[in-house]
């Protein structure tokens, strides 16, 4: 039997399991919008944990992550640092978002912000920026899946077919089972990813160097600059490294799906338990970074053209691993791409339909229509992203960077929602727009001063204008803003008791 048959066989077996689990999850929920979007508000800890873990580790973990440590070395540790720190603000923000979500029936992040600032336009802007970040991100997952399939099977499964199979399965189970389907498939995909990353990481270190310790000894002897900052290759200064960690960590809690999932949590302890386990996901980066470090000496004489290909190049072309191992590697990498992809397509379609279409144009749309429209958009967005992956425009990464810069700028507004009654609609608009423009400016057009991350300058502009313009404009009605600041103080458990006594 040919090698690529074994590789494909293992991978197809994995895909069938994911599809079966994803479709089965449907029978466990009612098909209302709340069920479809927020998992019926009673997600358990295990599901919540793997949803979050599996969605964060995207195709990036198997392509871009090793690419960082292969290309520069030590600067790659920034990923571990921001994963360790990133969810900490959620300890404060998450429960408050969940409380207001329960009280006022929010389903998305924009619901919360546009209600507080009484602005439908804000909802539309948030939706557009979010989708502008999601679509290229989703496309990169599809591209990653297709590329990995092609590399692992030596071209016998072409790019278009591998990408198609992986994402038809994603679209199917998200369409039929919503968040619950994502939850159960993520449990499987999360476990596979973690196991595969460690197996491959250690296997690569042993295959080329006889162990992790001896690998780093050899790098120390032949290319020591990779092991400390500023690192090898282009390297990264302390200012760039530190501010990249800060911006990524702050922006981490602003992804719209985090809010949607907090509305789905059954109690505050669940949210906090997730935050507790979360830093440990940073440890998945250890084997991933090791793989990249392994490539430094292996490819020292003929460097790779694209550093993100270091893992497939090592595993498939250089190491001569058994096809079984390559098949398992491919399944793990697909798991990472597909689990993130499913979350992205689910969130993007919800945001588009609810925050843009319903909020701005058709507020009286019946819920059943909203559900079916959201499902249709799951399919539409999957097709669009797939087509984009085939064309693979170079501007995709720029679009992602630019849009993410905008997503990060939601942070001061969210803090103001919970803590600052004086913030006004005009202040929110001014802060958001100024922050995003400054970030874009220093990302694409002007070299950022002092090598400080563009997002930090954006934050400064954002906060200055949010505060300045808010103070210069008339305060919003006390009754209204109290809903959010005082309203977010009562815990979910207390809210539950009032609801129970009211009925």
């Amino acid at each position: 039997m040919q090698d690529w048959w074994i590789i494909t066989g293992i991978t197809v077996a994995y895909l069938i399991v994911v599809l079966a689990v994803g479709l089965r999850a449907r029978s466990e929920q009612a098909s209302t919008l709340v069920g479809y979007v927020a998992g019926g508000r009673e997600l358990g800890l295990v599901i919540l944990f793997f949803i979050m873990g599996a969605e964060i580790f995207s195709a990036f973990a198997f392509l871009g992550g090793p690419g960082w440590s292969y290309g520069m070395g030590a600067p790659g540790f920034y990923i571990m640092a921001y994963l360790g720190l990133g969810l900490l603000p959620w300890w404060i923000l998450g429960p408050r978002a969940a409380r207001l979500g329960r009280k006022y029936g929010y389903l998305t992040q924009a619901d919360l912000m546009s209600d507080r600032f009484s602005s439908k336009g804000l909802s539309a802007i948030i939706a557009l920026v979010s989708v502008a970040a999601f679509l290229p991100y989703l496309t990169l997952q599809i591209t990653g899946a297709g590329y990995l399939f092609e590399a692992a099977t030596d071209g016998n499964v072409p790019f278009w077919l591998g990408a198609l199979v992986a994402f038809v399965i994603v679209a199917l189970y998200v369409y039929t089972s919503g968040l619950r389907g994502i939850g159960w498939t993520n449990v499987i995909q999360g476990i596979i990813m973690v196991v595969v990353a460690w197996v491959i990481g250690l296997a690569v270190a042993y295959r080329f160097y006889g162990g992790v310790g001896s690998m780093f000894r050899e790098i120390q002897a032949r290319a020591p600059e990779y092991l400390t900052l500023p690192g090898g290759g282009d390297g990264m200064s302390w200012a760039a490294f530190s501010t990249a960690i800060l911006v990524s960590a702050i922006g981490f809690t602003m992804w719209p799906h985090l809010f949607m999932k907090s509305y789905g949590a059954d109690n505050e302890r669940t949210i906090k338990k997730t935050i507790i386990i979360y830093p440990l996901y940073g440890y998945l980066l250890i084997p991933v970074l090791i793989i990249g470090f392994a490539g430094i000496l292996v490819f020292q004489d003929n460097p790779l053209e694209n550093q993100d290909n270091v893992l497939p190049e090592l595993v498939v072309n250089v190491a001569n691993f058994s096809p079984w191992l390559i098949g398992i590697m491919l399944s793990g990498a697909l798991a990472a791409a597909m689990s993130t992809g499913s979350n992205l397509v689910h969130t993007a379609s919800t945001v588009l339909v609810r925050d843009l279409f319903v909020a701005v144009f058709k507020q009286d749309m019946p819920e059943s229509r909203v559900v079916s429209l959201t499902k249709i958009f799951v399919l539409v967005l999957s097709v669009v992203a797939y087509l984009l992956a085939l064309v693979n425009p170079a501007s995709l990464v720029d679009l992602l960077l630019g849009a993410y810069g905008g997503v990060v700028q939601f942070f001061p507004l969210i803090v103001a929602v919970f803590f600052w009654k004086r913030a006004t609609t005009a202040g929110a608009w001014a802060g958001l727009i100024a922050g995003s423009l400054v970030t874009l400016l220093f990302t694409f057009f002007v070299t950022t001063p002092f090598e400080i991350h563009a997002g930090i300058w954006g934050f400064i502009a954002n906060i200055v204008l949010l505060v300045g313009v808010s103070l210069a404009t008339r305060p919003m009605p006390e009754e209204h803003v109290k809903k959010f600041v005082e309203g977010s103080k009562a815990t979910l458990e207390e809210i539950g008791e009032t609801e129970a006594s009211a009925t």
């Binding site: 360790g84 780093f216 120390q220």
Partner: protein, 70 residues
Amino acid sequence: MRSERTIAVVMGAYFLVCTLAMIWPGAVVANRIEPMIFGLPFFFFWYVLWVFIVFVGTVILYRWEYGGRS
């Protein structure tokens, strides 16, 4: 009420230290290869260590917040 404030201040300081340890200026002292620990260069190990310290901090915080009630 006062104990809630104490928790916030102490844990806020704890996580601030964690953050500063992973960026400039804290991480500067760890920017070296020797000693290698668990086969990892010291700078690599530094991040493994601090991620663990963050984890421990969240466990302490959780126990502190919910310890009295059940």
